[in-house]
């Protein structure tokens, strides 16, 4: 299976403090993963864990400090011309978190739609652009009459559908969706999640779904990447990760998810820790201060991802050691 998008050793540091400051914030550190065609990958983690920074690098808003992003096998660092840039942002568009801030309020909804069509698909005539706008509106479950409305006439859920329609009009291969449902009401969210699944199943689009809501990730995603303090803590097929979490952070995260159908779990109650700000970090596991299982090695060696179950990796010394012991005995 060839990856649609492949990220290798992606790193992004920010200089912080005054002009003379030598301190750097490690927002994303040495992250590698892939996204296949027709796949929804959920990128989950607490705020500050680096998930939005990854999306912004994929959207070419930020340049990586080091590491490479390959889209359809070609490195993004080789994009030079405006034409290549336009082509890439059409193939990999972004849907934003805030449906109230991401549509220009002074124009009708069709304004942004038709403009991006004109820019990204210049081969279409004016009539074809209108036709295409109506088609994508239909796909995302909006009445094409809505094109004539002003943004203030639409509800939050409808606006977020407009966001997906705009992305879809560019015939994308991968949509970067940064918390697309977190500002919507509970009763509306499911409709958007169903839409994301439909785009994957019927339009063949892949989606990078960035969220802190594990339950919604499980609802739509095929694979899960759990971030902690700028690094991947655990990744794998989502059902396998949720059923057999190997990293203590994933276990903590899962125990904290509010779930009326589950008994109250105890693990999260004892944790009053906070994710660290990763400024000029020394080697070692970044979760060790909060980790109930931490051993001496954790303070000295940064754990690398290792496959502990089929296609399911975790970056944890303790989990890796116990997996090896199990292997040695069997």
């Amino acid at each position: 299976m060839t990856d649609l998008l492949r990220v290798e050793h992606l790193t992004r540091h920010f200089k912080i403090g005054g002009a003379l400051s030598q301190r750097t914030l490690h927002a994303v550190d040495d992250v590698s993963f892939g996204i296949n065609a027709r796949e929804i990958v959920a990128l989950a983690g607490e705020s500050g864990s680096g998930k939005s920074t990854i999306a912004r690098m994929l959207a070419r808003i930020y340049r990586p400090t080091s590491g490479e992003i390959y889209f359809e096998g070609k490195s993004l660092s080789r994009i030079r011309s405006r034409r290549d840039q336009l082509r890439y942002s059409g193939l990999v568009p972004m849907v934003f978190q805030d449906p109230f801030g991401s549509i220009n309020p002074v124009f009708r909804v069709q304004h942004g739609m038709l403009r991006s069509l004109k820019l990204h698909r210049p081969e279409l005539s004016a009539a074809q652009r209108l036709e295409e706008a109506a088609r994508v509106f239909d796909v995302v479950g909006l009445n094409p009459d809505m094109l004539q409305r002003f943004p203030y006439e639409l509800s939050g859920g409808q606006r977020q559908r407009v966001g997906f329609a705009q992305a879809l009009a560019m015939r994308p291969k991968l949509i970067l969706a940064d918390e697309p449902v977190s500002m919507l009401d509970v009763s509306i969210r499911i409709g958007l999640l169903n839409l994301m699944a439909k785009l994957r199943d019927e339009e063949g689009v892949s989606i990078l779904y960035i969220t802190h809501d594990i339950a919604s990730a499980r609802y739509v995603a095929d694979r899960l990447i759990v971030m902690y303090a700028g690094q991947i803590a655990e990744t794998g097929p989502i059902e396998d990760v949720l059923a057999h979490p190997r990293h203590p952070y994933t276990q903590l995260l899962l125990s904290a998810v509010p779930d009326p159908r589950a008994p109250l779990s105890v693990a999260a109650e004892t944790d009053r820790g906070e994710p660290p700000k990763v400024i000029d970090p020394a080697p070692g596991c970044r979760f060790r201060w909060r980790c109930p299982l931490a051993i001496d090695t954790c303070a000295q060696v940064t754990p690398e991802l290792a496959e502990l179950r089929p296609a399911h990796d975790a970056a944890c010394h303790v989990a890796q050691t116990s997996a090896e012991e199990v292997k040695a005995f069997s």
């Binding site: 509800s155 499911i190 809501d213 998810v257």
Partner: protein, 328 residues
């Protein structure tokens, strides 16, 4: 984690209605809401944005500002009707007997003052404590929420989101209130911090015995913490009853829809539908039952007859078909 529920009400709200007076006429944001909160009880209020839950809280705390205006109803707090009291009279009750924790601690704390200075302000505004009393009590309440008292000298930006929210709760505890009103205090937090804050609120409540009104849009969040639950839709109460009862057997189709809109991390993966449509604009609410345009069980009469809130199996439910038993 259900706490004891003695029956003396600390708060009794009856027939409360709030209008927003706008140029195009008035809009009723809270329509004839009545409920009680017993001493030491945890009442959860859930609903979508625009259902009137925050306006209701403001009305209870007598914090409404124009264009909002209390149209009818009484708010009996420990035997006193708060409606119509002057600011001076309210000041004696606010913070001492009833305190409010607002939604976003990022905005609720003054960014240019230390935590300690803000605690001092609150204490001096509602009493005449000595310097020593202020320092001692400030340190004590911070310790209660698990923050080191050295942070009294910290500015809000030096604290994490969870710590800021916890210091807001500490501030609400400066005096020993009988009622703490919380408006989505955890909505800006990550799940882990959110869960730890909920547990902490519950612990404080069990230690000090104050009552809590907790407003949220996330029903699953309070499932393990609230004693009773009030579900609001379009300015009205749709369902009111014991939390466990409502989660086990939701009676109102809207409550059912809300509960079915949550994906779970456990059990089989099932397709969910959510609730079709959108909550109504309060300036033009549907005739009859306000939920009927989105309701899967609506009949013709639901569009004509507005249902009352009346008892069904021990809960209060606003649904014609539940009340006459045609929906089981």
């Amino acid at each position: 984690m259900q706490s004891r529920v003695p029956d003396t009400p600390v708060l009794e709200v009856s027939g409360l209605s709030v209008d927003y007076l706008l140029d195009r006429g008035s809009v009723r944001a809270v329509d004839d809401v009545s409920f009680t909160v017993s001493r030491g009880e945890f009442l959860g209020i859930v609903g979508e944005s625009g259902c009137g839950k925050s306006t209701l809280l403001f009305a209870v705390a007598q914090l409404l500002a124009p264009p909002a205006h209390l149209a009818a109803g009484t708010v009996m707090f420990k035997g006193t009707n708060l409606v119509g009291l002057t600011d001076r009279q309210l000041s004696a009750i606010r913070w001492q007997a009833m305190s409010v924790v607002m939604q976003s601690a990022m905005n609720a704390l003054n960014p240019v003052k230390t935590i300690g200075a803000q605690f001092k302000d609150a204490m001096q505004a509602h009493g005449k404590p000595s310097k020593e009393e202020i320092t001692a009590r400030s340190a004590e309440v911070l310790r209660m929420v698990g923050i080191d008292p050295v942070h009294l000298r910290s500015y809000p930006h030096q604290l994490s989101g969870g710590m800021r929210q916890r210091s807001m709760i500490a501030m609400a505890m400066l005096f020993t209130p009988d009622l703490v009103i919380m408006d989505e205090p955890t909505s800006a937090l990550d799940v882990v911090a959110q869960r730890s804050l909920m547990v902490q609120i519950k612990e404080l409540q069990q230690t000090f015995g104050f009552a809590v009104i907790f407003v949220t849009h996330d029903m699953s969040l309070i499932s393990h913490f609230s004693d009773r639950l009030m579900v609001m839709y379009a300015g009205q109460v749709d369902e009111l009853g014991a939390t466990k009862m409502i989660f086990d057997r939701p009676r109102h189709p809207y409550t059912q829809g809300l509960l079915e809109a949550f994906p779970s991390i456990r059990g089989p993966r099932v397709p969910l539908k959510g609730i079709p449509g959108n909550p109504p604009d309060l300036s033009s609410v549907p005739a009859g039952c306000r939920f009927h345009p989105r309701c899967p069980h609506a009949l013709d009469r639901c569009a004509q007859v507005p249902p009352d809130l009346s008892p069904v199996d021990g809960d209060l439910v606003r649904c014609l078909r539940r009340q006459d038993g045609s929906l089981s």
